[in-house]
Amino acid sequence: MTGNESTGHRRGMGLVPLFNLVMLVALFAALAWGYLAPVSGSSGLAHRVDAALVESGVESRVTAVLLNYRAYDTLLECFVLFLGVVAVWSLRPFRYDRHDPSPGLILSSLVRLLVPLMVLVGGYLLWAGSNQAGGAFQAGAILGGAGVLLLLTSSPLLSALPRGLLSCGICLGPVFFLMMGLAAMVLGRDFMEYRGEAAALAIVALEVVTALSIGLCLAALFGGRRPEAGQEGAGKAVPSQDGGEGR
């Protein structure tokens, strides 16, 4: 399948100049030297994280860091995902995007079984995130995986969704994050300041919505082009639709 390119590639790798190799070895040596050099550094922020855990409203330390102490990073991260979708959708529609023939009985029945299971696992991860491994990102990733499976098998479930809903869902995470942050301000606190009992509620709400939005964004990234691109491009509609209509 990639015969032509592979020979060129081999040749390219064989001719890697000695200079490059020496530079890379030197770089690794420098990195290792910096890593192994003894430092009298501090032990990081672990103690501070633990000391403030009571106020943060969650038991899991990583969740506390992500959604309370450093929630601003997570807000911007939601925007990175949103931005990825916007950037992918803004690209010129792909010309030769032909969808594979229909997925076949085994795959589609497998997907019909797997998708509810994945949604269930996602929900479990979300719930587990409060005190052990798991949380919004992992749950969102599982939900995104379910979306990818649906896209792969051109499930009619997706073509039944109204178009506007997808755009709204992709914005949902950042919008909700911003609204929660501003709500804290309205209540006389700092932007995104969540403490105590209220924090627990706020973070659960944030986690659920973020997980949904991350899942949608990841699935949209996998889709690879804007939903209505088919009309301007090669005459094909959404990948999820051409299977259902064509065959």
Partner: protein, 96 residues
């Protein structure tokens, strides 16, 4: 905790996989190796007591990124098919 044979083997496997991802002649093989690289990376993070990161890596870093790569491969292959089709159309045009 002291370093065990398991750690060393895992690290060597990671390095070996990275090398093969970068040098294997077949793109498809490289992508499949990349997915297994992600899964082993998740194992490393379990070993480092970072289960959150391990879960995220297995789901996003390995699963979804792998799916992205596979779909890009499919698209690039369809580009090549499309090119062949165009080529044939050209030939027919030239003949006629």
């Amino acid at each position: 905790m002291v370093v065990s044979a398991f750690d060393i083997i895992l690290c060597l496997t990671l390095v070996w996989l990275a090398w093969h991802i970068l040098t294997s002649p077949d793109h498809f093989k490289a992508v499949v190796l990349f997915i297994s690289f992600g899964l082993l990376m998740a194992l490393a993070w379990v070993r480092l007591q970072a289960p959150d990161v391990a879960l995220a890596e297995a789901a996003i870093g390995s699963g979804l990124t792998g799916a992205l790569f596979l779909s890009a491969l499919r698209r690039m292959a369809s580009v090549r098919r499309g090119e062949r089709r165009l080529d044939r159309a050209e030939e027919r045009y030239d003949d006629g």
